[in-house]
C-alpha cells in the first residue's frame, strides 16, 4: 500500500488540504490534482527549470520537491503570479522582444526572471545570464530572453 499523508498548503492564496502520496512531486500535485498546468514538466531531474515554482517566497524546482514537503507552505505558481499582475512588466517585455517561440520554457523562465527582479534594481547582462542559467530554452538562443529581462530591470535593452 502506498503511503499518503494529510497535507495542507496555500496555493496562489487559497488554502488546499489533500491526502497526498509520499512519492508525488510538487509539480505533479499542482498539475494533476489542482489543474495548475502552467508549471511544465521537462526533464524531471532538476536540469531544465520548466517546473519552477515559488515556495515560501523562494523559487524551487517543482520536480525536486515532494508535495508532502510543502506541508504548511505558501506555494505560488505562474497562474497566481500572472493573475495578480505581478508579472505584467515581464510578460509585456517577453512579448515585445519575441522572447519565446514554442513557450514551453516560458513559465519557468518568468518565475526565475521575476526572482531576479525582486532581488535587484539593476543588473548586468552577465548577472541575468547567471540567474537564468538553470532554465533551458531550446528555441530562442536566449538573447531575446536576456533582452526582455534587461528591459524590465534596467528600463532598456
Amino acid at each position: 500500500m502506498e503511503q499518503a499523508l494529510d497535507t495542507t498548503m496555500t496555493v496562489n492564496g487559497s488554502p488546499v488540504r489533500r491526502r497526498i502520496p509520499a512519492r508525488q512531486h510538487l509539480v505533479d500535485f499542482l498539475r494533476e490534482e489542482l489543474g495548475l498546468t502552467g508549471s511544465h514538466i521537462g526533464c524531471e531531474h532538476g536540469v531544465c527549470g520548466a517546473c519552477t515554482v515559488r515556495v515560501d517566497g523562494d523559487i524551487v524546482r517543482g520536480c525536486l520537491m515532494l508535495a508532502v514537503q510543502a506541508n504548511g507552505c505558501k506555494v505560488d505558481t505562474i497562474e497566481g503570479l500572472s493573475d495578480s499582475g505581478e508579472l505584467e512588466a515581464l510578460q509585456k517585455a517577453f512579448h515585445e522582444r519575441n522572447a519565446l517561440q514554442c513557450g514551453f520554457c516560458t513559465p519557468g523562465m518568468l518565475m526565475a526572471a521575476q526572482d531576479l527582479v525582486l532581488q535587484k534594481a539593476r543588473c548586468s547582462r552577465e548577472e541575468i545570464k547567471r540567474h537564468i542559467s538553470g532554465n533551458y530554452c531550446r528555441c530562442t538562443g536566449y538573447q531575446a530572453i536576456v533582452d526582455a529581462i534587461e528591459q524590465v530591470l534596467n528600463g532598456q535593452g
Binding site: 520537491m65 515532494l66 508532502v68 514537503q69
Partner: protein
C-alpha cells in the same frame, strides 16, 4: 521519470530520527534539501523504503560564530551561505564557492550537510572543507563525534558516516586568505575541475575538486615556494580521471591554469 514508491517520515526530534534509521537500516535514506537524492529517485537509481526528512529537526540549522571560526548547521542552504554576512566575513571561501553550485532554484533548497554527506567528487563544499581543515560534527544515538574533513571523505560518494548517524554541522576555522575558482562549460554545471585555496599562518593549501574520487589536497604544490615550482610539482599531486569531454592531460593543464589564478590571489 517519477520516483518509485516509498514511505515518508518527518521526525521532530533527533531521538525519533535515530530510531527510524535504526529500525529501517539500509532501507532508510536521510532527506534534507533533496537536490541530489530526489533526482536519483526520479531516475530510479535508488529505491529506499523510507525517506527520513530531517528538515524538522532543531539544532541542525543556523550559522553561529565560534571563538575561532564559524559553525554552520547541516540544514543551512546554499542560498543562505551565499547571502550570509557572517560567512562572507569569517569563511569567505564558502561565500565564493556557493554561487558556483547549480542554479538559484536549487541553491534555495540544497544544504551544506547534504553536499558534504553525499561526497560527490565534483562538489564544491567538500573541497572547501578540506582546504579550511574543517571539523564535521556527527550526531549518533550514543552521542556526538567530530571528524576532520581530511579524514571524512574516504572514496567515491563514500564518507566516514556510519549507519544511523546524521551529519549535524561543520565547523570552519578562519583562514588569512581564501580563493575559490572553477571551470565549467556553463555557469552552474558540474565543474570540469575546481580549486579551493587557503592561506593560514603563511601556509598554503590547494585542494582540487573533480580531480579524483575525493577532494585532493595537492601536497607538493601546497609546499612550493614559487608559482613555477607549484605548477611543476602539481603533476605529482594529481592524476585526474578523464571525463566524456576532457582527457586526463587536459584536466591537469586546466588544474595548472586554476593553480596560477589562485596563487596570484593568495
Amino acid at each position: 521519470m517519477k520516483a518509485p514508491s516509498f514511505a515518508y517520515a518527518r521526525p521532530g526530534t533527533l531521538a525519533e530520527a535515530f530510531d527510524l534509521l535504526e529500525r529501517h537500516g539500509e532501507g532508510a535514506r536521510i532527506l534534507a534539501g533533496g537536490q541530489s537524492l530526489i533526482p536519483s529517485l526520479n531516475m530510479r537509481l535508488s529505491s529506499p523504503e523510507l525517506l527520513v526528512d530531517i528538515t524538522g529537526l532543531a539544532g541542525l540549522s543556523g550559522i553561529e560564530s565560534l571563538p575561532k571560526g564559524l559553525r554552520i548547521g547541516a540544514l543551512v542552504t546554499h542560498a543562505q551561505i551565499e547571502r550570509s554576512p557572517e560567512v562572507k566575513r569569517h569563511a569567505p571561501l564558502l561565500a565564493q564557492a556557493a554561487p558556483h553550485i547549480a542554479h538559484p532554484a536549487i541553491r534555495n533548497r540544497g544544504t551544506l550537510g547534504g553536499s558534504l554527506a553525499l561526497a560527490d567528487p565534483a562538489a564544491e563544499y567538500p573541497a572547501c572543507a578540506v582546504a579550511l581543515d574543517a571539523t564535521l560534527v556527527i550526531a549518533g544515538k550514543k552521542g556526538e563525534r567530530r571528524v576532520k574533513a581530511g579524514a571524512f571523505f574516504k572514496g567515491l560518494f563514500e564518507t566516514d558516516l556510519r549507519p544511523g548517524e546524521i551529519l549535524a554541522a561543520a565547523e570552519f576555522p578562519p583562514a588569512d586568505k581564501a580563493v575559490f575558482v572553477e571551470l565549467a562549460r556553463r555557469h552552474g554545471d558540474y565543474a570540469i575541475i575546481g580549486l579551493a585555496g587557503t592561506q593560514a599562518a603563511s601556509r598554503k593549501r590547494f585542494v582540487f575538486l573533480g580531480a579524483g574520487a575525493t577532494p585532493i589536497l595537492a601536497v607538493n604544490a601546497s609546499k612550493a615556494s614559487s608559482l613555477e615550482e607549484a605548477r611543476e610539482v602539481l603533476g605529482k599531486d594529481l592524476d585526474p580521471p578523464a571525463d566524456l569531454y576532457h582527457s586526463s592531460a587536459t584536466k591537469l593543464h586546466l588544474a595548472r591554469v586554476l593553480l596560477e589564478r589562485a596563487w596570484n590571489k593568495l
